[in-house]
Symmetry: C2
Subunit: 190 residues, 2 copies
DNA sequence: AGTTTGCAGTGACATTTGTCATCGCTGCTT
DNA sequence: AAGCAGCGATGACAAATGTCACTGCAAACT
């Protein structure tokens, strides 16, 4: 439905032509093989292959295709990866809808659109978690207790508690629940 | 952006007129006071007051206004509440976009649109939580500790622990984190 | 060899969380 | 008035969690 609505929105602009719309990254690649595309617009959270992976593949195989990413959540980790992949625009879905058309026009003209405010989110804070801390927090967020986490990570309970304690400290949280919430909100889980 | 796109989509239909679009439930109520509205379309997960609460208020104060709910997540509890509130249509955002226009026309004509498949999810399990248990779980899910929850709910810490214990037991969880996860997934937190 | 570094583990301790039986109060019900 | 739900509180206890100082060990310098 969102895709259909965005299509309607873009077709209102007379300098745009929507050459296709599909549900998944795989279908998008198939479409790109059938016909040339000036600008690709995609979400990040897709079923199966993520929009960021799609952007990476498109860059490699169709370097002339501009890439615009539109996503729901402002997670610092997302925009950071998007910048690393050299995407042409990165927008949040709750931005005013005119911004999308603007970003597409700028992308087609070879200019990039990266909201300075979002960039600050991305650059301001670097993910402070170690891989182990992240894995432990992920499991804690799913409701695993210390023993369960130790089991899944093949560590002792004490070590798990040490990792979680480290994560709690780094994130300025007061317990593992709050730590998980903060990390997820920043895009530091997964 | 999604709102803008849906607006564009609906304005393509020549029998519709979009009389306004707003970001929050509060703004929607303000708009309803300013002018009559035939059909209200809203999401559930909004900043602040939820779309389901909005639907309830609208039913009470503007019983002639039809209510269409469009949401991202298929949580059993959502559609159940929607049905209880007498909502006129309940759609998922990943449904094809034509369904929205159809549902709106049917709602305006006094007919209800409730996907049979979604209904099955709703009838499967009933929300076992009391209001207090739910409020306590919500706050726990946000990372509040027992003292913080007690503070916000104006209860003693012991009582909060009793409520959480009840919720944990009813949901078959082993701790408050898991209980919150289960309740959220079922749509029992709102 | 000796040193450093980083990871995993241990032990001890305070705090928080989960559970349960029980109490006091209020507002019914009859 | 006596009885009785329902709600919130309390106290006590076991279990889980959070913190920290410290050990052991192997890989990587020098």
């Amino acid at each position: 439905m969102v895709r259909g609505a965005l299509k309607a929105l873009l077709e209102l602009e007379e300098d745009f032509r929507v050459v296709g719309d599909v549900a998944t990254a795989e279908e998008a690649l198939a479409l790109l093989q059938r016909q040339p595309v000036d600008v690709l617009i995609c979400d990040i959270e897709l079923p199966g292959v993520s929009g960021l992976s799609l952007a990476e593949t498109v860059q490699r195989r169709w370097p002339d295709c501009r890439r615009v990413i539109v996503t729901t959540f402002n997670r610092g980790g997302y925009i950071r990866r998007a910048v690393d992949l050299g995407v042409d625009a990165f927008l949040l879905k709750d931005a005013p809808s005119e911004q999308l058309a603007d970003a597409i026009r700028r992308a087609a003209a070879g200019r990039r659109t990266l909201d300075p405010e979002l960039m600050l989110d991305a650059l301001g804070e670097t993910d402070p978690l170690t891989t182990k801390e992240r894995r432990a927090l992920q499991l804690a967020a799913e409701g695993c207790n210390t023993a369960g986490i130790a089991d899944r990570l093949c560590l002792s309970e004490g070590t798990v508690r040490n990792y979680l304690s480290g994560a709690i400290g780094k994130l300025g949280a007061h317990n593992r629940i709050e730590a998980a919430r903060i990390a997820r909100q920043k895009g530091w889980l997964y």
